[in-house]
Amino acid sequence: MKYRQILDHVVLLFGVFLMMGPLVVAFLTSTYNHVTIHRQGMQFGWGGQFLDTYQTVLTQQGGFSGEITGLLMTQNSIILGIGFAVGKIVVSMTAAYAIVYFRFRAGTFFFWVIFLTLLLPLEVRILPSYEVAQQLGLLNSYTGLILPLIASATGTFFFRQFFKSVPEELLEASRIDGAGPIQFFWDILVPLSRTMMAAIFIIMFVVGWNQYLWPTIMTTEEQYFTLVRGIQSVMQQMIGADIPYYNEALAMAMLAMLPPALVILIFQRMFIKGLVEQEK
């Protein structure tokens, strides 16, 4: 019994080393001078350049046009994360409400249309999607960044599942209490869904924040770059540089990672609940 427990701890400690090790090394290295990194490789200690590097990344104007700073990118990332999460919740909740609580002829048809979107991940329709956005004049705009991302089926399915689990008697009781469809939605369903909405918000914020492909092709003006999108241009600058600014690249990576990581850690239980429930 005792032996078993020790073995479990060994396995877990090794797992933690595997998962956290690269992040720790990346963080520590980002506190060094780029010349030192270039000469001696990635670092395993504290380099003392922490403030300098992060200040530079956050405030110094970078990119080719010099219009973007780390702070601005963070702001864009937050806009994308929150816009994506809120948009997705609103759109999928109303759609799920219509599908679950209304008797209408086209209900099943709409359900299958939503289902269809599962078949079309952004990656397989990327080129035509870009062309559509271009024709609508949505390139380099927050609308163009967020809107195409929010209408996938997962959120709708999630709320559909949840609404189905709400006891039918609540609807009946509220009908006897004289509530119409809009009142029922606002007075009963939305307050009941609060935990679910929060869980979905957390997950979607992380998913939105971490978007890469769409922002990469959608935004060519640097003022719309998100942190994750910015990683790409950082890489481009590193290639071909004499002594690449490894430290700044890694600092960017840390900045891009921190907010979603914090959100997940703070709301850990809700996050796990949302994640696991979502896939049911």
């Binding site: 006891p167 008697e169 009946e172 009908r175 209490d177 004289g178």
Partner: protein
Amino acid sequence: MTTLRIKNAVKRYPNGALAVEGVSVDVEDGELCVFVGPSGCGKSTLLRMVAGLEDVTEGEVELAGRVVNDLEPADRNIAMVFQNYALYPHMSVRKNLAYGLKNRGTPKAEIEAKVQEAAELLQIADYLDRRPGQLSGGQRQRVAMGRAIVRDPAIFLFDEPLSNLDAKLRNQMRLEIKKLQRRLGVAAIYVTHDQVEAMTLADKIVVLNAGKIEQIGTPAEVYGNPATTFVASFIGAPPMNLIPAEAENGAIRLGDQTLNLGLDHRGPVTFGLRPERAHIGASGEGLRMETGVVEELGAIRLVHGRVGPHEITVTQNADQPIPGAEAVLRVEASDIHLFDAETGRRV
């Protein structure tokens, strides 16, 4: 006056299944009417048709003198207590009670007064600011009733409201519901599958089976003169013994035994005898019974055994001697129920 009149109500689902087949019931003012029957007999469907939660396929539902078939539930002047209470989990008790009144546009002061009055009546005034999740089963039950009371309905509808409570609480709440209904003097329909609840609560019992009415009557009528074998076996515990028999020449033949009763019915019948109406003796006139297992219940005991090939159960006061392997059942002619062997109807 009649509060509720159900006339030839039929419920047919789109797939053709019939849940209720032509039921007619009247509920008088202040009457507590119980719909009782096994699960799937249509009793809940019928109640929900009265509430307006199910469409009425055919027939009429008439409440306080007007046909309400096409009215929304909120416009029918009914109140309902659900099996799982259906309290709004995110609202305080106070808001739960007030929600329906608020939707009707009742003035605030009046809502407040009504909520307070109902809360005091039900002794939940101390919990008004709690949420349903913080209450015990019995307290939730009271809140659900409170929500019904504040509406001042023409009729209360109870849908198996006690089935989520433990046995002790159930008995207590049952009594409270009855007292409350008497006190308010409002008609009520109470749906249950529990015949004890039905017997104890009802002014009028409606026994339903497979979407049809088997019998309507007072508890005493339904117990004393069951109209069918179904009612006979459903009402009363332990249930009535029902044994296939033959009636001829004023006598009943049960296997190789004959009971002389002076009846003028002939042909195959079902012989019915309530366990509590047979007297067990060691010898004498009557049905010979082989005794088997004996169950002690305290004041009485159940004696299981056989008459011929058929199983039979009779009760006996606990102060009587336990019968031996062979016993004789003395039976009064007036305690015997005979049903047509084919239709199950009383003869």
